[in-house]
Symmetry: C2
Subunit: 343 residues, 2 copies
């Protein structure tokens, strides 16, 4: 099949997603693997260039969330074999450098972005470090939740981890996208006692509650901060998980935390600028960045495999891959939380 | 003596420090105490208004570092008695509110700034929560180190604590003022294996080495960051303690940390603005704020009392209190690290 053509997703300019002919992926480095996708999806972060907030300078193959069957591996790949089911994250990492060993695989000294996952087949660099093999090929019903591990569940989990969520914590989640909803689920798994989800959308509020939210706050900005303070006896939350990436959401997150509390942020900030003096007197801990999903993957796959969690519920729209443009539209218009694509 | 006059330190405008007549302090609230100062000093943060970086809108009684003998207490004060030697921090705190209990006494729900310490006598609000009593009245030789606990040692300790310094850590300290130097000492006490002090001044470099610095870096900015990377095999430091408070020093601190590393900042930021996206991709943990010195005071007093540390060495100039203006000048011109004042 190599050298042949396939149809895959390309963003030409804001709003213009096409499912069109592209060359089949092939092994470029001996550490590469080629996988056939069992499922893929549209990410909230794909909406930044789709909406023109992030520049699109040339036709760009889209997609960075993936799971599927290994078809071919490069000569240097040792731990991954054709026929296995694998999951990987949005940055390829060697998983052996000092940053990987410290648990920050998305800052791997040899990291490479992964792209072109909204396609029938894709190339994954640094396959040994990047891909995690499941015990066996999963039943089809498990695929959506395993796909969620690739990014949104891993990112939501990092949000909770980076914000120091512990048994008994009072947690606020800012953002009701798939990441925010799975941050709620993650906080619940980590034993949070109270989880306040900030959401203005009824269907998302319902899923947040199903995932473990104990309270919903539907106002934003200063009003939202005031409501959080009311709900926490004037103290503020122990942990605030910022899952949006705008100036308003960051300030709301910092304002909702108690002095000494923890604020995490996991979406690429767009136009965010933090005033040093205000941050200083807020007394919060701040941590975030591109979620090192690889760190959490084995644990999250176990949680899914043992049916303890069902993060795949964030996919409220399933489309055949060739209808990918409708997936973007539905998410852009907030008609869907997250669109699953079946090749 | 109440109602009588004393002479004390007042800042009239930038550069204009006067030692002049003021009313003796008196008990204003039943939770107050009046203490007679054994020693006081000039703080690096006093230089912000002295240099006009921070506005001086009216004649301002100066000084917030203090230790001395209790002379009088309000009717509600239970744990502090006249004749005792006490040390307090720059914010009065009740030490019982939720923020205090969480270890953030400088964000106490009832906090009050402490001022007027560059004087023979002063009023301390919330005496029960704010003041720590020593086992006995200390010998005079111990007074400088006990005074250091009041702010600079406590702040340097918080810098190390907030930057997660642990046995074996590689630590960078940005800033060679008294706080930076005592951050070096604190990191050493916490078991840091490598402590890189950034300093361009020979006498400060020498004291940094005496306090535990293993390396000195005398270049700044991007060049300083590059040198830290060289010294850490391209990885960056586990912990970076920012003890200055300028835009340059903050960016230098963030740039010197490894992904997943910890950056603390303990000086009020002046003109600092952090770009959200850059901070995101730096992958650092960030924590700081007004140092909750009260949290660490009992432990630091023990360290001083048992002669395990000698933080008083940062006082390289001792003056009679009435020469306070010379203390400001010497620190402003960097002729002195820190000026001790004896009433």
């Amino acid at each position: 099949m190599k050298g042949a053509a396939m149809r895959a997703t390309v963003l030409h300019k804001p709003g213009d997603v096409r499912f069109e002919e592209r060359a089949e992926p092939k092994i470029l480095a001996p550490t590469d693997a080629i996988i056939r996708l069992s499922a893929t999806c549209v990410c909230g972060s794909d909406l930044w260039p789709y909406r023109g907030v992030q520049a699109v300078t040339e036709p760009t193959p889209m997609g960075h969330e993936y799971c599927g069957i290994v078809e071919e591996v490069g000569s240097a790949v040792a731990s991954v074999k054709p026929g296995q089911f694998v999951i990987g994250s949005f940055f390829a990492s060697d998983n052996t450098c000092p940053h990987c060993k410290a648990g920050y695989q998305t800052s791997c000294q040899h990291r490479e972005p992964v792209s072109g996952a909204q396609a029938p087949r894709m190339r994954v660099p640094l396959a040994d470090g990047t891909l995690v093999v499941t015990a066996e090929v999963p039943p089809d019903a498990l695929v959506p939740s395993l796909l969620a591990v690739s990014d949104v569940f891993g990112t939501g989990w990092f949000a909770a981890d980076a914000a120091n969520v512990n048994p008994g914590s009072t947690v606020v989640v800012v953002g009701d996208g798939a990441v925010g909803l799975l941050a709620v689920l993650s906080a619940k798994q980590m034993g949070a006692e109270r989880i306040i989800a900030m959401s203005r959308h009824e269907t998302r509020q319902a899923l947040a509650r199903e995932f473990g939210a104990t309270d919903i706050v539907s106002v934003r900005g200063d009003e939202g901060v005031a409501r959080i303070k009311e709900l926490t006896r004037g103290i503020g939350a122990d942990s605030v998980l910022e899952c949006v990436g705008t100036q308003e959401s960051m300030l709301q997150a910092i304002g909702a935390a108690r002095p000494g509390g923890f604020v995490s942020y996991v979406g690429v900030p767009h136009g965010v600028s933090l005033d040093g003096e205000k941050l200083f007197f807020s007394h919060v801990h701040l941590h975030g960045g591109p979620a090192p999903v690889r760190r959490f993957m084995p644990q999250l796959i176990d949680l899914v495999w043992s049916r303890k969690v069902n993060p795949g519920k964030v996919f409220d729209l399933t489309l055949p891959l060739e209808k990918v443009a409708e997936g973007y539209r539905a998410m852009d218009e907030r008609r869907a939380i997250k669109a699953l694509l079946r090749p």
